[in-house]
Each structure stands twice: as structure tokens, then as C-alpha cells.
Symmetry: C2
Subunit: 555 residues, 2 copies
């Protein structure tokens, strides 16, 4: 062969290698269908050492049967995999590293495994690539973390391999696109194989093998907050946010975090929000999962549209009944899509508001403790100022004006509203405000390049506590920013060390606003204000369509 023939032969190496894997896999398959008992054999046949593997692994939906099948593989055949998956959620995801089947990890969120993942990193049992946000990891799927094999989950398939994901579409289209179109192999676990799918979420020519499991994939109710657990402190912060931020900026397009403070806001819209005359003026369009606590606001006509990252257990029938609000398919059920909803949260929302565990004197915040690597999920993406944004909106321009009143208006970008909300003392009386984030100690211990900061202080625009609202847009230097933070930090050590004179001046300028400055009497922050007081109330609001998961039923 001459040089050019040689070169040309090498062009097809990727495709040839893929075809060799497919042929090996075909030996345990009938067409695309593989029996569950053969799943491990299939994985051994199609995987190679050092492969990049996405074991789906979303925020909610888990390819649990395939993760068990992979764990059962022979480490002599399947080893040193580089896992590139957004969620590290199941124990099996980490067992893979204990067995030597996996070696390296790039991920975005580790919820229930955050303590074990930290221990394994510290013990050298996992080689860490990086911790990402979801959208960032998806981005890398197309550039330098493209999976060789994707193990995904769907509700059902037909014999051609077309997949129906049901409401938890989540990351699947993104993972499949990156894998299937770059000569990778896509293997799906499905509850059942049917003749005709309710709708096609993934075309069959992007799917190589299908394993029928006979049961639903594992999915956790992460976005259900029981109204009964909402405190009056949280209600007060919600009132402050509504009257002090939502109203004056006129925020229509937004994302809420998953904490109790924002659940309280959702439940105050039809009551306190209505009294303030805000219906139609704020909080009408969301990038948000189908939060059960949003049902009363939807039923009261507040919400025009919600695009969802994923779904939520128990919300299927309710969502089906509200195609006017939610994105649904021809079959009637929710179509979620994490990549698009994160993009919407980044570029089409004027506000992100969420709770956090710790805030330092610069306004940096973190949800990690010294022994947990929880990952970033989506908050840093949505809770950052999108400097590539070019379309104006009233809230965005107003925030930009406040931050930089003196520069030329035509050259002055707007700012995204990034709001941190919480009580000055959180669970177990831990102070929200600290001199130094635990994230720093964690980074030192694990020798990370960067401390895992969830939201950086230079992106935060407001901090809301029961003591008031700090508007960091109005702070002109580091010292003012620090005192504005101290000024809403209550009786925490950080709060007690405030410079009273400076805090007073900041308050005069509106950089700090107390409840009384907003005409809010803290004594009015009563649970009676909540549109629903219990999960049962939410079921009632939904006309009986919301079916809460067992652990939230106490009747």
C-alpha cells in the first residue's frame, strides 16, 4: 500500500472497530433484542478497556438494570472504563470503580453518593476527570468526552429499536446523539417491547441493542417538597423575595431551585402574590421540573408555560391534563429535555433563585461540606450571568443599570438576576454565612484545581434572608459588598461582625432593605398564607390528578 492508501485505511478504523463490536454483540442478540440474562455478555462483547462509557445516570432516571449488568462483567474483559455520565446516583455506579471495571470519572451530580464519592476520591479509588454542570458535560460529549458506548433507559421500544422515553426524556437524546453519530454503540434498557410506541423519542437507527427488563427504570422524586414542612422563616423570605425582587423587576421568565424557600414562593403566588396584584406581571414562564408545589399557581392562572428538565414522580396525569402549560407529545405525556431546558435557563430566563448551604463574605456560595462531593447539577449554569446574551428585557436592563449606572447606556449590558435565598441559620442551626467555605477545605484535601463553588459572588445580585434583602448590584466595591452581606446575616458570627454605620448607609441607599422598608410585618409570615398546607392539599388543587409517591402520603 502506498502512503495515501495507508492513510485512507486509517480513516475507517473507528467505523471498523465499531462494526467488530457490533458483530460480537450480534451473537447474543436476535436482531436488536437481547434477553436480560444476556445483558452482561452483551456488554463484555461490545466494550473495550479504556472505553468512554455513559451509563445513564440522569438527575432522575437511572439505567439501573444495565448498571447491574455492567457490574457483573468480568474485569478481565471489561476494565478501566472512563465513565462520563451526568448523575452518579446508584451504589452500583461506584461499585464499578471498586471492581476495577471503571477507572476514571467525569460527572455533574452525585446526590446520594456524595459522601462515598469523596471517600473514594480521597482513597485514590477514582481518578477524577472533572465535576461539571449538566450543560457543560453535554458540551464535552461533542468535543472531547464522546462516549464509545452509551447505556440508556427508556420506557418501551419497538423491534426496530425506536424508543419511547415517557415523561423522563431528560438527557437521553443528548447522550444518544453524541454516541450514535460518532461511531459509538447505544444500548437501551426498556420496560417492555411493544408493536407500536406511543411516540418516538429516539429513532431506531440510533439504537443498536435493546434489553427488555419487564419493569420500570428507577426514578427518584427529587422535586417534591411537602408544604407541611415549610417554616414561617421560609415564608418570610418568600414574601421578601416576591415584594422586593419579583415585583420591582417584573420578573416573568425564571428558574426556581429545589429548596423549601422557593417552594414557599410557589405556594404564595395565589395568595400573597395575588394580594400584591402581581398575577400576569411576574413568574409566568419557567424552566423548571413539574414541581407539585407549583400546582396551585398553575390552577390559579399564574403560569403560562413551563419547560422541564425532567419529570417528577406522581405528576404524569396532571401534566397530561395541562398541555396548555407543559410541553407534551402526541401521546399526551410530558416531553422533558435537560439540554434545552438548561439552555433556556441560561439564556431565556431573567432570574435564577435558589437556596444554598454556605455563603462567604464575597458572596460565593457552596452546597458541599468537607466530606461530600455533591457535584454542580444545573445551578451554576443558570446562576451565572450569561455574557453571550444579546436580547434585552426590562428586568435584565434594570439590573444592568443598577450595577453600572454611569456607563454609556447603549454599551451597557444587562445583568441576570441571581438570587440566593435562605434563613441565616439552616438545618441543625448551621450558619448560612461563613468566613471561609467548607468547599476550600475539600479542595485542599482532594487536591482539586478549584474549590467547588456553586455560584460565584460576582454573579450573585441579591441575597435574601429573614433579616432582609442585600442588593449586591448597588454595592460599589468589595467592602460595601461584604457589609451588605453581613447586614442580612442576622445573628451569625458574620452578621454580628458588621460595621453598623456602613450597614446603615447601605440601607439608606436601598442596598439593604429590611422587611419594614418593604412594608412587610414579619408577624404576617404565617403558614395560613400558603395556598396548600399539605401534600393532600396539592392533590386537591390538582383535581385528584397528582398522585404523590408513597413516602409523601400520610393519610
Amino acid at each position: 500500500m502506498d502512503g495515501s492508501t495507508l492513510r485512507r485505511a486509517s480513516w475507517h478504523r473507528g467505523r471498523d472497530a465499531r462494526n467488530a463490536r457490533l458483530e460480537a454483540g450480534a451473537k447474543v442478540a436476535k436482531g436488536k433484542i437481547v434477553e436480560m440474562r444476556d445483558a452482561t455478555h452483551l456488554l463484555e462483547a461490545v466494550m473495550r478497556p479504556d472505553d468512554l462509557v455513559c451509563l445513564e445516570g440522569d438527575n432522575q432516571k437511572q439505567a439501573d438494570v444495565l448498571s447491574a449488568a455492567l457490574l457483573a462483567a468480568d474485569p478481565a474483559k471489561v476494565r478501566d472504563l472512563h465513565m462520563v455520565q451526568s448523575g452518579v446516583v446508584l451504589p452500583e455506579h461506584l461499585d464499578l470503580f471498586e471492581r476495577g471495571i471503571a477507572r476514571k470519572l467525569d460527572f455533574a451530580y452525585s446526590g446520594p453518593q456524595s459522601a462515598r464519592i469523596a471517600a473514594m476520591l480521597f482513597g485514590g479509588k477514582i481518578e477524577l476527570g472533572a465535576v461539571h454542570t449538566y450543560l457543560e458535560l453535554f458540551a464535552r460529549y461533542f468535543i472531547d468526552l464522546t462516549p464509545n458506548v452509551a447505556l440508556i433507559a427508556a420506557e418501551s421500544a419497538d423491534r426496530d429499536g425506536n424508543l419511547y422515553t415517557g415523561p423522563n426524556t431528560e438527557d437521553t437524546p443528548t447522550v444518544v446523539e453524541a454516541t450514535a453519530f460518532k461511531d459509538g454503540i447505544v444500548i437501551a434498557q426498556v420496560g417492555q417491547i411493544v408493536d407500536k410506541l406511543p411516540r418516538v423519542d429516539i429513532p431506531g437507527d440510533q439504537v443498536n441493542f435493546v434489553v427488555e427488563t419487564g419493569r420500570h427504570f428507577f426514578v427518584e422524586p427529587l422535586f417534591t417538597r411537602d408544604p407541611a414542612a415549610i417554616t414561617e422563616g421560609q415564608i418570610l423570605t418568600a414574601m421578601l423575595a416576591l415584594k422586593g425582587i419579583y415585583a420591582p423587576y417584573g420578573v416573568q421568565r425564571l428558574n426556581h431551585g429545589i429548596g423549601f424557600n422557593t417552594a414557599a414562593i410557589e405556594l404564595l403566588l395565589p395568595t400573597y402574590g395575588e394580594r400584591l396584584g402581581l398575577r400576569g406581571k411576574v413568574a409566568s414562564r419557567f424552566a423548571l421540573n413539574p414541581h407539585p408545589t407549583l400546582i396551585p399557581a398553575i390552577e390559579s392562572g399564574w403560569v403560562e408555560q413551563v419547560h422541564c428538565f425532567g419529570s417528577e414522580v406522581g405528576m404524569d396525569a396532571y401534566v397530561r391534563a395541562r398541555p396548555d402549560v407543559f410541553f407534551t407529545g402526541a401521546d399526551g405525556s410530558l416531553r422533558s429535555n435537560r439540554a434545552f431546558s438548561q439552555t433556556a435557563g441560561l439564556y431565556a430566563c431573567d432570574m435564577f433563585i435558589g437556596s444554598t448551604l454556605q455563603i462567604d463574605l464575597q458572596g460565593n456560595s457552596s452546597t458541599v461540606t468537607t466530606s461530600r462531593v455533591a457535584g454542580f447539577g444545573g445551578a451554576p449554569n443558570m446562576g451565572s450571568d450569561p455574557r453571550g446574551r444579546r436580547h434585552p428585557s426590562a428586568p435584565w436592563l434594570q439590573a444592568g443599570r443598577e450595577a453600572d449606572p454611569d456607563s454609556a447606556p447603549l454599551l451597557r449590558r444587562g445583568r441576570k438576576l441571581v438570587v440566593q435565598i435562605g434563613e441565616t441559620f439552616g438545618e441543625k442551626n448551621a450558619p448560612l454565612f461563613v468566613e471561609k467555605l467548607d468547599a476550600l477545605a475539600l479542595a485542599e484535601k482532594l487536591k482539586l484545581d478549584l474549590a467547588p463553588v456553586m455560584i460565584y459572588g460576582d454573579d450573585v445580585t441579591h441575597i435574601v434572608t429573614e433579616e432582609g434583602i442585600a442588593n449586591l448590584l448597588l454595592c460599589r466595591d468589595v467592602a460595601e459588598r461584604e457589609q451588605a452581606i453581613r447586614g442580612v446575616a442576622g445573628y451569625t458570627e458574620v452578621g454580628r461582625a458588621r460595621d453598623a454605620a456602613m450597614v446603615r448607609r447601605l440601607r439608606e441607599r436601598g442596598a439593604i432593605r429590611r422587611p419594614e422598608d418593604l412594608g412587610i410585618d414579619p408577624l404576617d409570615a404565617d403558614r395560613g398564607l400558603l395556598a396548600a398546607h399539605s401534600i393532600k392539599d396539592l392533590v386537591r388543587w390538582s383535581g385528584g390528578l397528582y398522585a404523590p409517591p408513597a413516602q409523601f402520603r400520610n393519610w
Copy 2:
């Protein structure tokens, strides 16, 4: 009906309205298939005044037959549409406004129509929503600019409405997802209807009607740069960029703009880059269309992977032969996807480098003149610092360190490299550097909220001209930044008004680097360095697979 029944009836209004439209459309269809002569009737049947309509309208691919059909509609029936499309490219796109069929416009890019769009905005013939980047407009499709009707283009369809887009997938999956899952109507023009598609890019249950046109949709070769037109000035800037930026930062993951300066860089990789020993160390992974000028670098083993926004005319056979580099489908042809490639450009690339028309003293840049509204396309998205990014990389950390050497390393984010490259005098001897951007005059004239700045100075890290490289990361205040810019502005008025002493000090610090500081002799910037000197050379490099469009063939 009681209140709750009334309320529940309203839930289905969206779906009922959609069904009424579908029934009206079905009268001119056989199944999903509509004859081309009935296309206008179809649109009159399914559209309502004030509808949000996406008339695809990508950077390259155009639903040209459907735009002609819409233009032929009766304005008494179809009027006041709100067009939400990324590209305003065909004359028909604007004729719609002249005829009153369309009233309001939200868009991202207007290439060849930029002068007419400006005139029509000034004449009050178009009500402007906003000008966006692509990804930003896609984001709004899911929040507040969701299309009621999408008119899209594909290569072929089967009778179930499954679509094959071919290499120009571009925006189609995004537009269809936003429309189909929010009770909108999707109408596709296709070249032909076939029994079996090469691959399924859009599942048929997301497509309501298909119009067979018997010909290919219109697509323009936007990314073809003839090596014969590259100047020695451009070659010098390319050498400076390679030795002064690519090499010291070790940039592996990047996006190139579409100008001649970056085409020169692509053509220098196998020659000058090779001599510098940079193969395997820089420029291996791209978010990029299949630029013909990248062929020599691919064939010389520089490029590991390219993910594409769209395709490029004439590159189909070459891309098919290189599935090791490009994303391709089971049918062998390119799979492009603008939403994912823009996300990759935002979050997974360490550098954006592109040319511009004007740069001001703060480093703000713009490609508009006082009489053109060209739109933003993708540059502001990729040319901005993604503050939501959390994964470290060596170039990103190094840039962050240079920008902010004194802050705590664990709390110091990295920075994206955003490079502007050009000669100090551009076409028609227009100076690249100006005291005031023409964009400001345009914004004043059209009463825009913001001047159309392509890349803001606070995001730019380097400016490269034939006089040298200004590293703005190393500038510590506004005055230094201004002098660093003046210091590479050559004999433009901006350049001649430099403070020579300050420029000297900046150079001593490396904030300005001259060719000689980098060991580059401007006399070496010779066309002989280019790996290809003509389009014909590119064809040769491709082994005859690249088939340049007619206007680029001069042999």
C-alpha cells in the same frame, strides 16, 4: 358548567385549537402529504393572525419553497405573523413584511438581507422583537417565543412523515422539538418522498404535513474561503496567533470564525505549525463547520474531532470518508446540529478566535455598519466568557491566572480565550480600530435598547494584528487596556494616538508582543507557507473528494 369544569375546559383550548387547524389542513392533504400546488392553501388553512411562525431560516439551509408559498398567501387570511427564525436570508423573508403577512421579527442572523432589514426597521415596516445569538433564540423557543407553526426543510421524507435532513440538520431538531411538543404544527418541505429513508433525523410523529418539492432546498456556501485570496498580512497574523497564543496556552479545543485570518491559520497548521512542533499539542478538537481550508490539517493528522453547526456545500463526500473526524449517521453522511455545536463552543472550547470589522478603545467589537443590521449569529455566544463553566483545563486556568494573579487560586475561575484577529486596515482601507463603533450610530438611528456589539471588550483576551498581540488579560486598568489596543493598532488614527512610553512598558511586561518578541520575521510571512494555494489544491488534498461549488471553480 361549574367553575372547575370551566377551568378544565380552558386547559384544552391549545390542543383543541391545534386540532381544528389540523382538520382544516387535512382537507388539502392525503394523509400527511400535500401537493406543492396546494402548499399555500395548506398554510392559509393552518395559520391564524398573530401566530408565532418559524420559517426555517438557518445559517445555511432555507425552506425556500415554503417561504414562497407563504408569500403567496392571502393577507386577509394570513396576517400579522410574528416570525421567530434564526436566519433572515431570502428576499421572501422580508417581502412577507411588505405584504402585511408578517408584522414582528425575532431573529439571529440576516447576512445578505442586512441592508434591507435596516431600511425596513427604520421605515417602520418591521416591528423588531430582538436580535439574538442562535443559542439564545433557541432558548427562547422553549420559554416565550414558542412557534405555533414551523415551516422546515429536509432532504426526504417517508409517508409517515419521518424526515431525513442529510448533512444540513442544523436547527431543525430544535425548531421541531419546541413546536411539536407545545401543540404547534410542523410542516416540512422535502426534495422527495421515499419508501425507506437513509436515516431518521426527525421522527414522523413530530411532523404534521409534508410537501414534496422535487428539488433540493436552497443552501449557500458560507464557509468556503479561497486560499488564493489570502494575503501575506493575514498570514503574518496567523503566524503570530499560532506562536503567540495557540502554543503558549496549549489550546486543544476551539472554534474558528469564518474570516480569512482563521482560514490562514488552518492552512498553516501542516506547515508552520508542524515546524513549531505543535501537532498533537494544539488545535485538535473543533466546534466548526466543515471548512474546506481545514482539509490539509485533517489529512496531516492534526485534527481528532470536529462537531459541526451545519455543513458546507461540496464537503459531503469528504466528510463521509472521514467518520473518524466528523459526526456522521448510519447512512454515512454528516450529522450537524447547531444547538449542540453552539453549546460545545460555549462550554467545551477553551478558545474562540475570529475576525471583526471594528474594535473600539475598550475592545468592544462589531461587524455592523450604520446601514446594516447583520445580526449576531453565533460569535457572541462562543466569544464570551462562560461564567457557568466549572471544569478546569490548562489553557483556561492559565488565562484566569494572568487576569487575576493575586486572588486565591482555589477561588479563581479560569477565563476563556477570546481572540480578535485582523489587519489594522481592512477592506477598502477601512481602519479596524475606531474611537466609536458604527454600531452606536445604528442603535441611535433605530432607537435600539443596546448597540449591536458582537463581542464586548471585557470578554476579549487578545487582539492580534500584523503589528503584534495585545494581551488584555495582563492589563490592570482601563488606561492600560486602551494603550494595549492602541499599541497594536498600527497606523490607524487610534494607533497613532498611542502613549509611546506606556506602550513600551506594556511591551516590557508582555502585554504587547511584537513579531520580533516572538522570533517571527514579518518577511517570512509568505504565501509559500500555506498548505494549499488554491481551491484546486484543497481538492487535491481531499483525494478528489471535495467538490467545490461552481463559483469557486476557475479551472
